[in-house]
C-alpha cells in the first residue's frame, strides 16, 4: 500500500558510477522532453526506463532522475513510492504476478498462488534465495475473459493451470531480456 511509510534509516545512497548514464539521458532528452510542457511530466517514463535497465530503482537512480528533471529528490521519491510497479527494493530476475481479483479468484487463482508458493518455497512478496524469482499477488490484470492469469515480467499468460505454470517457468530463458512476447509480430519500437 503506497501510503505506508517505509523504514529508510538504512537506505544507502551509493557513490561511484552514475546510473542515469549519458545514453539514458539522451533518450529522455530527445524522446520524452518534447512530448510534455513540463520536465516533471517525464518522471513516470524516466522511472520506467531506469527500472527496465536495472530491474529495480535504487535510491541513487531516483535521485539522479530528480536532478535531471530539476525537481526535489523528495518529489521524485514521493511519486515513485506511490506506484506499485516501481520497485524501490531489489526483486528477482523474474517477477511472477498472480492476479487475485474477483474473476480470477472465482477461477481458482488461489491454487496457482499456492502452487507457486510451494514450488519456489516463498510466500507472496518474497524472493527466492537464488534471486531468480519474486512471487507477488496483485489486483486485476484486465484479462478476466481468460482467467486465471499470471504475468511473468511483461508477458501475460492466460487460462493458466498449474501444469501450464510449470511449463512456463521451465521455458524461461537465463536472461530476462531475452524474453519475447509471443504476440509481437513486429520489431519492438521501445516503450
Amino acid at each position: 500500500m503506497p501510503w505506508i511509510s517505509e523504514d529508510r534509516r538504512h537506505t544507502r545512497v551509493a557513490e561511484g558510477q552514475p546510473l542515469l548514464t549519458e545514453s539514458l539521458k539522451a533518450v529522455l532528452r530527445d524522446k520524452y522532453f518534447p512530448r510534455y510542457p513540463s520536465k516533471r511530466a517525464v518522471l513516470l517514463p524516466a522511472l520506467h526506463l531506469l527500472q527496465h535497465e536495472y530491474n529495480w530503482l535504487p535510491t541513487q537512480a531516483v535521485q539522479e532522475i530528480a536532478e535531471f528533471l530539476e525537481i526535489a529528490p523528495a518529489e521524485a521519491l514521493d511519486t515513485a513510492s506511490f506506484y506499485e510497479e516501481y520497485w524501490l527494493k531489489p526483486k528477482g530476475k523474474y517477477l511472477l504476478q498472480v492476479c487475485r481479483s474477483l474473476t480470477c479468484e472465482l477461477c481458482q487463482s488461489e491454487q496457482l498462488r499456492d502452487h507457486l508458493s510451494q514450488k519456489l518455497n516463498v510466500d507472496p512478496g518474497e524472493t527466492t534465495a537464488d534471486k531468480r524469482f519474486t512471487l507477488v499477488e496483485l489486483e486485476c490484470l484486465g484479462a478476466c475473459g481468460t482467467a486465471p492469469v499470471v504475468m511473468v515480467n511483461e508477458v501475460l499468460h492466460e487460462n493458466v493451470t498449474t501444469d501450464r505454470l510449470d511449463q512456463i517457468i521451465a521455458a524461461l530463458p537465463e536472461d530476462p531480456h531475452d524474453m519475447k512476447d509471443p504476440g509481437m509480430t513486429w520489431d519492438n519500437d521501445g516503450h
Binding site: S38, A41, E75, E85, L102, T103, G142
Partner: protein
C-alpha cells in the same frame, strides 16, 4: 432496436484463432480513416453537434454525454488544449479496452484525431495502465504507422495544417489513475491523487490547460457516428442509451470473453446467448459493470443492461463499464465481497480518511467473518461504514469509496441471509441502524432471494 452487425468489432473475427492485429493497410482497406477526412471538412462545432445528436454516452463508467463533454472546452483558444485517452482499465471485470486496442488500434487513433479536431486539442496522451505491456507496444507500433502516413505530426492531420501530436503515456500500477483527475496528476509526474473539483478538467486539466478525457471505447464510436450519422447510431440501444456496447463476460460462464451487442439487452441474454450459459451450476449473481457498480441478484436476470435500468430497477450504481462477473450457485458471497473490499483497501490512494481507513476496516471485518468469528455488530458496522463513505455522502474527493460502498451495499442487501448466517445473533430481517450523524436509518434488506 436493432443490432444487425458488429460496429466496433467489425474488423475483429469472433473466432479467436482468426484474430490478428489490424495494421494501417488493412485498416484503410476496410474503410479506415474515411471519417477523419470527412471531419477535416467540418467546422469543429459541427463535429461536436453530430456526436451530441447521436446521444453517445461515455463508455468509461459514468455514462456522461460525450458531445456535451466536448462542448465544455472553451471555443476561444488561448493556449494549448489536451486530450487524454483513458486506457487505464483496472476495474475488476473490465477488459474491453484491451481487446479493442490489441486488435484494432487504428480505430482508436482515428477517434483521437477526430476528437482533437473537434475540441482543438494539440496533443493527445493515451494514458495506458502499466500492466498492459503488450497493448502499449501495439499502440507504439500503430502510432509509428500513423505518423508515417501523416495522421499525426508533420504538416497537420493529412496535410491540413491542423497539427495534432499523439503519445503513449504509461501508468505504473495504480487503479486510482483511472479517475480522471488522478490520471492528470499521474500524467504530470505526481502521485495519482484525485483533485478537488472545480476547476473541472475542461477548464483547467492537464498542465492547467483545458483538457478532454475520454474512454477508449467512447472514442472508437466516434468515427462510426461521423460516417453513418447520428440517426443510424440511435437505431441501436434504448432511447436514453443509444449505440453498440462491448460486454465483458467473465466468471462462471461457458464462453467468457468480450461480446458486442446493443445497449439494453437483458442480463439473461448476455449470459445465455452471448456467453454460452452458466458453468458449474445455476445462476446466482452477477457484477453488473465492474465491481464498483455492485451486483445484480438471483431474481434480476430480466434487468436491461443500459445506463438507466441497471440503476433504477437493478439497484446498482450504474452500468459502469459493462464488465459482468457472473457467479454460480456455489459461490460464497462473503468471500466474494471480501475480495472486492480487499481490492479497494489495497487501491485506496490514501487521501481521504473515510476511504483509506474505512475500506481497510471493512476488509478486517470481512476477514473475521470468513474466519468464523463474525458477530451481529460486524454486519451492522459494515452497513454503517458503507453508508458514510464516498462522494454521495460527501466525505471523499473521488468516487473510489462509492465503489466500495455500492459493492458492499448490494452484496449485503441482496444476499443478507448468507451474511446473517455467518454472524450469529444478527437480526434476520430489518436492522434499525443508528448512523453517527444521529439520524436513524432503517435498512431493509432487499429480501431473501438467495434460495
Amino acid at each position: 432496436m436493432a443490432f444487425t452487425e458488429p460496429v466496433l468489432t467489425k474488423r475483429i473475427p469472433l473466432d479467436a484463432s482468426q484474430r490478428k492485429l489490424i495494421g494501417y493497410d488493412d485498416y484503410v482497406a476496410t474503410g479506415g480513416y474515411k471519417s477523419l477526412k470527412q471531419a477535416l471538412e467540418m467546422p469543429p462545432a459541427d463535429i461536436i453537434k453530430t456526436v451530441t445528436d447521436s446521444g453517445l454516452r461515455g463508455r468509461g463508467g459514468a455514462g456522461f454525454s460525450a458531445g456535451q463533454k466536448w462542448s465544455f472546452i472553451p471555443k476561444e483558444k488561448k493556449g494549448p488544449h489536451y486530450l487524454c485517452v483513458n486506457a487505464d482499465e483496472s476495474e475488476p471485470g473490465t477488459f474491453k479496452d484491451r481487446y479493442l486496442i490489441d486488435h484494432d488500434p487504428h480505430l482508436l487513433l482515428e477517434g483521437i484525431a477526430i476528437a482533437c479536431l473537434a475540441t482543438q486539442c494539440d496533443i493527445a496522451y493515451i494514458f495506458i495502465r502499466g500492466e498492459y505491456h503488450y497493448s502499449a507496444k501495439v499502440l507504439e507500433h500503430a502510432l509509428k504507422e500513423a505518423y508515417a502516413h501523416g495522421i499525426f505530426g508533420g504538416d497537420g492531420v493529412l496535410g491540413s495544417g491542423k497539427k495534432v501530436e499523439c503519445y503513449v503515456h504509461r501508468g505504473a500500477g495504480a487503479y486510482i489513475c483511472g479517475e480522471e483527475t488522478g490520471l492528470l496528476e499521474a500524467l504530470e509526474g505526481k502521485r495519482g491523487w484525485p483533485r478537488n473539483k472545480p476547476p473541472f478538467p475542461a477548464i483547467a486539466g492537464a498542465f492547467a490547460r483545458p483538457t478532454v478525457i475520454n474512454n477508449v471505447e467512447t472514442l472508437m464510436c466516434v468515427p462510426h457516428i461521423l460516417e453513418r450519422g447520428p440517426a443510424w447510431f440511435k437505431t441501436m440501444g434504448t432511447p436514453s442509451s443509444p449505440g453498440p456496447k462491448l460486454f465483458g463476460m467473465s466468471g462462471h460462464v461457458n464462453n467468457p470473453g468480450v461480446y458486442e451487442d446493443e445497449l439494453g439487452i437483458t442480463l439473461d441474454y448476455a449470459i445465455n446467448k452471448l456467453a454460452g450459459g452458466m458453468k458449474g451450476g445455476a445462476y446466482k449473481a452477477s457484477v453488473c459493470g465492474g465491481i464498483s457498480m455492485g451486483i445484480l441478484g438471483t431474481n434480476q436476470l430480466d434487468i436491461k443492461l443500459d445506463f438507466d435500468d441497471v440503476r433504477f430497477r437493478g439497484g446498482c450504481l450504474g452500468l459502469g463499464t459493462a464488465g459482468m462477473i457472473v457467479m454460480n450457485e456455489h459461490t460464497d458471497m462473503v468471500k466474494a465481497l471480501r475480495n472486492c473490499v480487499r481490492f479497494y483497501a489495497h487501491e485506496s490512494c490514501g487521501q481521504c480518511t473515510p476511504c483509506r481507513e474505512g475500506s481497510n476496516w471493512m476488509r478486517k471485518i470481512l476477514d473475521r467473518i470468513l474466519d468464523g468469528d463474525g458477530k451481529a455488530a460486524d454486519l451492522q458496522m459494515l452497513m454503517e461504514l458503507e453508508k458514510t463513505m464516498g462522494i454521495m455522502p460527501g466525505t471523499t474527493i473521488c468516487g473510489l469509496a462509492d465503489g466500495t460502498a455500492w459493492a458492499t451495499r448490494t452484496f449485503i442487501n441482496k444476499f443478507y441471509d448468507e451474511f446473517a448466517l455467518r454472524c450469529p445473533e444478527a437480526p434476520t430481517k430489518t436492522i434499525p441502524l443508528k448512523v453517527s450523524s444521529g439520524r436513524l436509518n432503517v435498512l431493509t434488506p432487499m429480501g431473501s432471494n438467495t434460495r
